[in-house]
């Protein structure tokens, strides 16, 4: 049975009082006094019950070697190094960990993430009282989209990327409305705009490709020689693109945009890419230069600003947009 929030707080105080024996005599009176200082009105009987509970082995207690020394009339640990704080965390440490947990819950919703979260919660459970989620709200909140289709393959894909195992899966193309069997040598799993993609060498296309996890069916590991990726290509995919679906296999190139006053403000605050350079004009409009590999997602972004953002260069990309419909750039 889990230890209640209040009992946990009292146990922490008892542990603190016994551990601080060099400063104050760890008596029942002292424990009750510290409890009252911390706003906990408690009786001798309750503290006695808490001490008995602390003596119990985990998980019902803490296995605390507490002994009452009748001669000195004080409590002590027979093992002077014992503390229920297995890891000594300051309140600040605990606070940082608690906030990190929120991020982990949001960003690593995989088996690996669950293990990490459990491990951190264990650490926290020895340092702070049980968190009552019904009474608390997070002070740090990231966007938490509902779990998407295909997320269940995350652990398998991460394992295949890490160990180097080719996979076979069925892919459904939303655009072409066709299924296709794919053999992929996966290199990385990447998130973009709350969507997850696996990137690698596709034997079926004889090229490097990204596949949305939501469009993958029944991935299986293959007993087949793994084709290792070229780090330069993988890093380029990770760093030189806004999005995952490139429109060219070339090296990063300058992409010039023209932004109106309002869009300039937003894009100055939230740059599109690390390479972004904003050259402001007198009236607050700007020329924005990015150095990257053009992608479908970049086109979608430009279109999302309507007249606020216009593509100026390269010419081939301007022409491409002119000659295609809006749906051609849907992922």
């Amino acid at each position: 049975m889990p230890i209640s929030k209040n009992a946990m707080r009292r146990c922490m105080i008892i542990d603190q009082v016994i551990s601080e024996r060099h400063y104050y005599k760890p008596t029942m009176h002292r424990i009750i006094e510290v409890c009252r200082e911390q706003g906990i009105d408690v009786s001798t009987e309750t503290i006695q019950k808490d001490i008995n509970m602390m003596k119990k082995a985990r998980p019902n207690g803490f296995g605390a070697p507490i002994k009452f020394d009748f001669q000195r009339q004080e409590y002590q640990y027979t093992d002077t190094n014992f503390t229920i704080n297995g890891v000594k965390l300051t309140p600040e440490d605990a606070s940082v960990l608690a906030e990190s947990l929120v991020l982990i819950k949001c960003m690593l919703r995989t088996e690996l993430g669950d293990k990490l979260r459990h491990a951190m919660e264990k650490v926290l459970s020895t340092s702070i009282e049980e968190v009552d989620l019904n009474e608390r709200y997070p002070i740090l909140k990231t966007m938490e989209p509902p779990r998407s289709r295909g997320y269940e393959f995350m652990d398998l894909l991460l394992d295949c990327c890490k160990v180097g195992i080719p996979i076979s899966f069925i892919h459904y193309s939303y655009k072409n409305e066709r299924f296709k069997s794919i053999v992929l040598h996966p290199y990385v799993v990447r998130e973009f705009d709350n969507r997850w993609y696996v990137y690698g060498y596709s034997e079926s296309h004889d090229a490097l490709r990204s596949f949305g996890l939501d469009r993958i069916y029944e991935p299986i590991k293959l007993d087949r020689t793994y084709r290792k990726g070229v780090p330069k290509h993988i890093l380029s995919f990770l760093n030189n693109m806004y999005g995952v679906f490139s429109l060219t296999n070339e090296e990063p190139m300058p992409v010039v945009l023209r932004a109106d006053r309002l869009t300039t403000k937003f894009l100055s605050a939230y740059p599109i890419h690390d390479s972004q350079v904003v050259e402001k004009y007198d009236f607050g409009t700007s020329k924005i230069t990015l150095t990257l590999i053009p992608t479908m997602e970049l086109i979608q972004l430009v279109r999302s600003y309507a007249h606020g953002l216009t593509l100026v260069e390269p010419n081939w990309l301007v022409e491409l947009i002119k000659n295609t419909t809006k749906d051609d750039f849907r992922r």
Binding site: I165, S168, I170, Y172, E177, R178, F179, K180, S181, V183, S204, Y217, E218, I220, K221, L222, D223, R224
Partner: protein, 136 residues
Amino acid sequence: MTLEDKTLVWHVNAHRFNLQLLRVMLNERTTRLDFGYQTTDYYIRGGWINIYPETHLVTSVSSRKIRMQDQQGIVTAPDKFHFKSRADWHFFSLFFAPLPVQDQTISLVESEDPDYTNFNIGNIELKIEAAFRLRL
């Protein structure tokens, strides 16, 4: 040749209208066929699909009919899986008794007397040499 613990995997692209046979997997316990189905404009809201319980495989190396044992993602007749639009798609798998482990051509037979709606797909070539091996 024996399969031992190996599962053979073939990528195929056989189709009948808007039904695609995409992958065949074979081990000593089962033969699995993976399918994709795309609805069309022909039916209102995409229509429905199901599979006859008497569906079987026919192989070029045996006169024996290899009966369907199980299915995943599709219901057997008379039940129906109804689509909701003309743009829906569906992935499903059918499981049969194990095929002989040798080069062969197989056919999926849903009906011996098929009409255009039946899931009958013929001449699926399975060569041992062309198969991938599943990693356990």
